[in-house]
């Protein structure tokens, strides 16, 4: 897709979005709507909490709407509307699956999405390899061409609720563009290098600031294991061991729950690229257990369920 087309696409979506928000407020379907506003820095957006029609003026939707807003939902107990890209919608579906959120308390304005950009114009971290272009869960969908579809209408057409791969996406939208194409380079393709050196090289850069944890939709524990003192999982002198406990521990907590939004990588101040661990586990869960995070809010997360005949891959002397 040409860059200009993309700009136009977001303009159409933005216009529709403003209309939908106004309607929502009028109908009282949400006390607050989570959306995006332009940031002070060029090519950035910040979260916008729309409580009245005045705030709708500030609404913005362009290719820099990379933040994942889903985590704010956990802080609001009332009815909330939210502008959700596919990865945000998957996060919401996970919250519902994990009983953190009631479906009736959230009104999801799904946005068909072709990938967001970093401030420097390159494709944002999770978007490079993203294959879900339509939110798997929404109440109303704003398509790339600006068309607005209600959920009932959408399911009546028999279209799948969340495209799994580009082939379906392209067949449905009739275009060949996908997230990876304009920028060509795709730095973090699933990596072959699974060496300890690589892992340690990334750990070396980490300063344990926990920005990745704060940004992740899935890290919502009231007290993170890294902040515990009883037991203290890390020593007061954080070295390689502490970083290892943190990153492997977090990867384990996100195993099969990561919605591939890339937020952790985007917010890291020291450019740590350790998401490959979680990505690998995600594709493993998909292959072995047929589970993909956030595609179905009615499904148990992979580690919260079991099957009597689960394979014992890598077990010693398994019969």
């Amino acid at each position: 897709m040409e860059l200009q087309d993309r700009g136009k696409m977001h303009e159409c979506q933005e216009k529709q979005l403003a209309g939908i928000c106004r309607k929502l407020l009028d109908e009282g379907k949400g006390d607050v709507i989570l959306a995006y506003a332009g940031g002070e820095i060029e090519n950035s957006t910040i979260p916008l909490f729309i409580r009245g029609c005045g705030e709708i003026e500030r609404l913005k939707y362009d290719e820099y709407c990379y933040p994942n807003l889903a985590k704010y939902l956990l802080e609001n107990k009332g009815k909330t509307g939210i502008v959700a890209k596919p990865c945000d919608a998957r996060a919401i579906a996970m919250y519902i699956a994990e009983n953190q959120l009631a479906r009736e308390n959230v009104y999801i304005i799904g946005m068909e999405c072709n990938g967001m950009k970093n401030m420097d114009g390159s494709l944002a971290p999770g978007c490079c390899e993203c294959s879900v272009h339509v939110p798997p869960l929404f109440d109303v969908l704003v398509k790339c061409n600006g068309e607005v579809v209600e959920r009932e209408q959408y399911t009546n057409t028999g279209a799948p609720a969340g495209y799994e791969d580009d082939a379906v996406f392209n067949a449905v939208t009739g275009e060949s563009g996908n997230a990876g194409d304009d920028n060509g380079v795709n730095e973090d393709k699933p990596l072959e290098d699974k060496s300890l050196e690589r892992f340690k090289k990334e750990l070396d850069k980490c300063i344990l600031c926990f920005a990745c944890r704060q940004a992740c939709y899935g890290c919502y524990c009231p007290v993170c294991f890294m902040d515990r003192t009883m037991p203290a999982w890390i020593s007061t002198d954080p070295g390689m061991g502490a970083k290892m406990v943190y990153h492997l521990g977090r990867a384990m907590h996100l195993a099969g729950r990561c919605v591939e939004c890339g937020a952790c990588e985007r917010v890291c101040p020291s450019g740590v690229k350790i998401r490959y661990l979680i990505k690998e586990i995600n594709s493993f869960c998909k292959d072995v257990y047929g589970y993909r995070a956030g595609m179905n809010p009615g499904e148990y997360p992979v580690l919260a369920a079991f099957n009597k005949d689960d394979k014992e891959i890598g077990f010693l002397r398994s019969e």
Binding site: M244, L248, M252, K311, G314
Partner: protein, 152 residues
């Protein structure tokens, strides 16, 4: 390794693997007991930690053990279907499979971490398992994962 374990260090290198073993109370720990009362020989390389169930095992235990310098980790529970708490080891099984994959991705050799099932009547199997695990870890040499090698 010091003498209170009653073992002699390997002659040439002086190094013996130190393996942390998490055994479930109801099967594997009893299995280890049976191996003991049956006077079965197995290498003294393991340090046993008793847990109520393999499902009690927080993956962080294993990660932490490795980060603290253990040369290997071994986990054993009841065979699937025999869990004292009915489903504990079923949940644990998925967790272990995924954890092992994760550690492998991070570059930690798969032979450093072992999961298996040993029932209370399988003293012989327990001794065999410990022998096998020790041999595999011995081949890999001392842990290269963190700077804590040899501290535990």
């Amino acid at each position: 390794m010091d003498n209170n374990t009653g073992c002699k260090p390997e002659k040439d290198t002086g190094w013996e693997p130190r393996i942390v073993a998490f055994l479930c109370n109801w099967c594997s720990y009893a299995g280890a007991d049976l191996a003991g009362t049956g006077r079965l020989q197995y290498p003294p390389s393991i340090r046993i930690i008793r847990v109520p169930c393999s499902g009690r095992l927080n993956p962080l235990f294993i990660i932490k053990a490795l980060a603290e310098g253990a040369d290997g980790v071994m986990v054993s529970g009841c065979h699937p279907g025999d869990c004292h708490y009915l489903t504990g080891n079923m949940y644990a099984r998925r967790r272990f499979v995924i954890l092992k994959k994760l550690l492998e991705t991070a570059g930690i050799h798969p032979d450093r971490v072992h999961f298996t099932w040993v029932s209370a009547s399988e003293g012989g199997r327990f001794a065999e398992v410990v022998k096998e695990v020790t041999e595999r870890v011995r081949k890999l040499g001392p842990s290269n994962i963190t700077e804590n090698t040899g501290k535990i």
